[in-house]
Amino acid sequence: MLTSAQLAELNEHARQMRGHIIRMLAASKSGHPGGSLSAVELLSYLYFYKMKIDPQNPTLPDRDRFVLSKGHAAPVLYSALAERGFFDKELLQTLRQFGSILQGHPDMKRIPGVDISSGSLGQGLSVGNGMALAAKLDRKPYHVYVLLGDGEIEEGQVWEALMTSVHYKLDNLTAFLDYNHLQIDGTIEDVKSLTDPGKRFTAFGWRVVSVDGHNIAEIDRAVEESESVKGQPTMIVLNTCKGKGCSFMENQVGWHGAAPKPEEAEKALQELGLA
């Protein structure tokens, strides 16, 4: 269990990552803030506490793997990698610019610490299954974490992959659903109903836990518990708020794929105490 000092540290990393996200998007003038801000606590927890990784050796063979299936949330991944020391934080300002390692969506060939390229939705859980199968074949202890978007699971391949994880009893894989209820064209319920996704995952044979996605202690409890379960993968539904931590972006459809203007970025950074 996390100590209160550890929790405070992880929350501080989350705050810094929010700042990175706002600044890099303001610099690039394009990108996806909403779904990046909703996943900050999860990535802070994984990259600063949970995952066995080494910024000095990003391809360490037995490292834990992270798959950002919702690849458009690249800014949250880049902010975690930079904050953790995989590359210089200065590079964050080059997001989406010509020649930058920080492509609009994660490119594993360019960015140290990215375990798989992503961006075309619906493919990450399949990739995670492949990684988890490789770990089982090699009897390696590493664990695979996959983050899915709630809009993303409208892609049919996700449901193929959900079946595969269960069929192969991939208990070395944990998936997360960023359940922030919004996608590009509106609410999840308006675009394509997703009443109680947990029930759907349960019906597919997954173990399902639902937590407050902005509460790192709750995420930790769910992850620790999931890793003690044998023979079954766990889906942790993160109840989140799109745009979390930036008052004017919170739960706003329009902030899926729009960058803050300079004055908006300034206001957001002030709210975060980072101005």
């Binding site: 793997r65 399949s126 299954n129």
Partner: protein, 314 residues
């Protein structure tokens, strides 16, 4: 020359050999292991065989995940599903990160026969060729297929291997050793060059015989690697014989004919004629009847050669 063997059988044999020698090999299949001939590997190495069920898109991205962890996955299904159904997965999650995934696509071309147009893959070479960094192999017989599959396992990066359902005569003897990226000159002649791939190589040799009897000697070149293509050999054919005919069991749009044309027009333009499926879908029928209907017989190659020679610059 010997018994007729399908290139998919060669795939099955090659996988068993690879299973014995290379512990990194894993094989994935989408509920077609008897047809794709991965069942032999599955029986011998059950722990390294991953049955994906009828889920080709899932299979391709799972193969990508395995490759990131040092495995050499052979993802196996029919050509129409490997390329058409799972195109985005192959493009974005295998091709874009240049992962070491081998895509083994059986039942390619119209000779899959009775299943009809829905299952006759005549666009797969075009679809795979356009993905940056993808290597595209199309063996002519079982000997070449087995050797190329073994070579593909050693080759770093994504490889598409096109295989067929129908048993074929052997074009090559067992000591033949193809090299990825290198064309093979099978006959020499002055009047024109037939550049053929896959099952059309044997037919090109038959066409050369027919032409020889008429007093026309032609060069025959086997292109088993459509990408990266052996441009030097094609340019030599253009310079030295001044007329080219391409022959493939694929649409004439985007396949071997297009690849050869790209090289020829940029280096030494000469007349080119295409033998292939002419912007049509296939239909049910026995392979022999389909090859006739879709203009893929030795006689069609002969006619194309004569036409190309007639268009030569004086």
């Amino acid at each position: 020359m010997g018994d007729r063997i399908a290139t998919r059988d060669a795939y099955g044999n090659a996988l068993v050999k690879l299973g014995e020698t290379n512990p990194s090999i894993v094989v994935l299949d989408a509920d077609l292991s008897k047809s794709t001939k991965t069942a032999g590997f599955a029986k011998k190495f059950p722990e390294r065989f991953i049955q994906m069920g009828i889920a080709e898109a899932d299979m391709m991205a799972t193969a990508a995940g395995l490759a990131t962890c040092g495995k050499i996955p052979f993802a196996s299904t029919f050509a129409i599903f490997a390329t058409g159904r799972a195109y985005d997965q192959v493009r974005n999650t295998v091709g874009y990160p240049h992962l070491n995934v081998k895509i083994a696509a059986t039942h390619a071309g119209i000779t899959v026969g009775e299943d009809g147009g829905s299952h006759q893959s005549i666009e797969d070479i075009a679809l795979m060729r356009v993905i940056p960094g993808m290597t595209v192999l199309n063996p002519a017989d079982a000997v070449e297929a087995e050797k190329l599959i073994l070579a593909a396992a050693e080759y770093q990066g994504p490889v598409y291997i096109r295989l067929g359902r129908e048993p074929l005569s052997k074009v090559f003897t067992d000591d033949y050793q193809p090299e990825i990226g290198k064309a093979v000159r099978l006959r020499d002649g002055k009047a024109a060059t037939i550049i053929a791939t896959g099952i059309m190589v044997e037919k090109a040799l038959q066409a050369a015989d027919i032409l020889g009897q008429k007093g026309t000697t032609v060069r025959v070149v086997n292109i088993h690697t459509i990408k990266p293509i052996d441009a030097a050999e094609i340019i030599k054919a253009a310079w030295e014989t001044r007329a080219i005919v391409t022959a493939e069991e694929h649409s004439i749009i985007g396949g071997l004919g297009s690849a050869v044309s790209e090289v020829v027009v940029q280096n030494h333009p000469v007349p080119i004629e295409y033998v292939g499926v002419k912007d049509r879908f296939g239909q049910s029928g026995i392979p022999a009847k389909l090859l006739e209907e879709y203009e893929l017989s030795p006689e069609h190659i002969v006619a194309a050669v004569e036409k190309a020679i007639g268009r030569k610059n004086p």
